[in-house]
Symmetry: C2
Subunit: 402 residues, 2 copies
């Protein structure tokens, strides 16, 4: 292991084989000619939010959606761009690593080179900290050689996932101006893409020439909608997890005496848990969205699990595998309310050891009911997006004890 | 998931591909002719044990070693066996699953069929419990079809790993006689192979016709010596673990702010940790054998780890991956002595909550020094081989806290 950025490294046999894979570009992104049709204006997912979002993003909300077209598409009025000036683009990894990060950079370099060989791609070293400090590495095909199709963010590294405070935003603005960037590409999850949207608005307001682009790459699999079929990394994450879950299923079947509880990443979304369920066929999965929609309580979920265990026992099967998304804990109404109270007290500056004494009577009753290690974990400071530190809450161990 | 034994099952694309692999037999096991040379008598690893072992195994200790020869070997005096009567053989999975278990059964069936198509292979259902209760499934090529080259012990299942008490040994003797077995093959690790050796002695004494054979298949990788190059499963275990460790290394390199402590199976032996180190190149590994040989204390090991962290920090690398074999905890002299005291008190019938008050002053001092969760874990009842419940002791979390 070595943390020198962008140095060529020795690849294992399987890594070499993997590096030879040539991902296929969608037809609309092939070649040097860009065909684009501008369509309806952007809207909010929930129409009742439109007004608020419009007010917070006056320069960027409501712009027309850009549809990129394949060469064979016949769309009257589509813009056809064949001449591309040389671009200077910066790219930064924000937040936790997810599969496919290095390939986003590869695709970016490839597109820039195809459009104009004089274009430049600068990678920021050490994530957002490198962006603020203007630490860059010019990305070339040689540098990418041993990182193509390889996991991790170690080509450039990453630090904090936030570009949010006035200092951070100003440092970013200064970096983009100093480096004369035409574009800034932020590779990250929900938090980073939210920051990217805010940054685009701020840049537009400041009449900064740098266009901000967010690329949805996240291990949580929670960035998808009508326009984003799945985020980068989702496929690999589900396959790798499904392989491990399947191994655990085989162990459960062999030993015939264990119930395995497996917690999967995903924050508020249970997409990873659902896809892994379809791929690996565990005995039970509790989906956060269903729990939230049906307002299932801790007691309801416990009953569901116990019923499943009982039904299997009646068939003489005293073993099984149960998947739980990490966001489940926040989907349970009473736990969500408890977490909200705790985070509210955090914001008021109440220290962790004094929080339990300041909870409302019902929240306190639930808190006291929880096993000691979960108590400690729900008292942790919330994440930068105000959700609980889900990766630190051992939901999978709770039902062992309840 | 379904626990009906031996039923054909649906394989995924990768499982189908895997099932087509044809393992190569060593030349000495190819064909229907068996060539065997009887050599020196068996001895004990440590010559000072020879007398004791000879006394406990009067019928089986000191028999000549059998060397199987390839067809081209010219060894005067070698026995050549071309006629094989039909055999009836039973096979049972004992102890925790390890890769390669199903293939041992495949190889066994194949050898029996090649030697005499009238031979029969009976699999005991549900491990040693099925052996005692004489629950069998006749193994055929059809039944094996979807289990070839596949992990797990789910073709037959497994339960407890012991064949040791008078009742268990007698039930086994009765089963072998009732089923007219010429051979009983026990697939398992250290405990099961110890039981197999004892069973062979008991059977010989009882003039039972059934030959007992132990096959070293264990996830701990701790069954190897001059005659056993590596146990079945070792290669797969090290490769699968190395892949996961390498992923963690990539994460450490990408985030550049975490130290990962990874605990690996292996009981008293650090073979798995060592092989994974060679394959995945973590920053540090602590080998149990070295700790025991150099009599390193908890303080020494902590100093070693801190020195490594400090040396890396001096190079501006505040991240890394450290491998710890699960047996490490028993290799540390003062912890070993503490565990011996605890297990001694267990044997005297002292309940777990009263053990800490009955420890010797120095053992008590060490015990009180340990973090609460480790305290709880070292108080667990020892395993059937009298070692601590290593899989339950979170050694990898200790150094976070120390």
């Amino acid at each position: 292991m070595d943390s020198d950025y962008g140095i060529p490294r020795e690849l294992s046999a399987v890594q070499k084989l993997r590096s030879q894979y040539q991902p296929e570009l969608p037809p609309c992104l092939q070649g040097a000619t860009v065909r684009v049709e501008f369509g309806d204006t952007t809207t909010s997912l929930d129409p009742t939010d439109a007004h608020t979002i419009g007010r917070y993003f006056p320069h960027t909300y409501g712009q027309p959606l850009a549809h990129f077209l394949r060469a064979t598409a016949k769309v009257p009025g589509a813009q056809v761009i064949t001449e591309h000036p040389p671009f200077r683009v910066g790219v930064v990894f924000c937040g936790r690593q997810s599969p496919g990060g290095h390939n986003v950079i590869w695709g970016l370099l490839n597109a820039l080179q195809v459009h104009n060989p004089k274009s430049t791609l600068l990678g920021f070293l050490g994530g957002s900290e490198g962006l603020f400090a203007q630490k860059t590495l010019e990305i070339t095909d040689e540098i990418l050689a041993t990182y193509k199709n390889q996991g991790g963010y170690d080509l450039l590294g990453r630090t904090k996932d936030q570009i949010r405070t006035v200092e951070q935003v100003n440092a970013t603005l200064t970096a983009c101006k100093d480096l004369k960037l035409d574009g800034l590409v932020i590779i990250g999850g929900v938090t980073s893409n939210t920051d990217a949207a805010q940054l685009a608005e701020t840049f537009a307001e400041a009449k900064c020439q740098t266009k901000v682009v967010g690329v949805p790459v996240t291990l949580n699999g929670d960035l998808k909608n009508q326009f984003v079929e799945a985020n980068v990394g989702f496929d690999t994450i589900c396959k790798v997890n499904s392989q491990l879950i399947s191994n655990v299923c085989t162990d459960a079947l062999s030993a015939e005496k264990y119930y395995y509880f497996i917690r999967l990443m995903g924050r508020k979304a249970s997409h990873v848990a659902l896809e892994c369920t379809l791929q690996s066929h565990p005995n039970l999965v509790i989906l956060g969205e269903e729990v939230a929609a049906s307002k299932l309580t801790l007691f309801d979920i416990t009953t569901q699990i116990c019923d499943a265990v009982e039904a299997r026992a009646a068939q003489d099967k005293n073993h099984g595998v149960i998947l739980l998304p990490e966001g489940l804990i926040e989907s349970i109404p009473e736990v969500y309310a408890l977490l909200k109270e705790i985070h509210g007290l955090h914001r008021q500056g109440v220290s962790a050891d004094r929080i339990s004494s300041q909870l409302s009577p019902w929240a306190s009753a639930l808190f006291e009911f929880l096993p000691p290690f979960i108590k400690k974990q729900v008292l942790l400071l919330p994440e930068s997006d105000d959700s609980a530190q889900l990766s630190q809450i051992e939901t999978e161990n709770s039902w062992h004890i309840l």
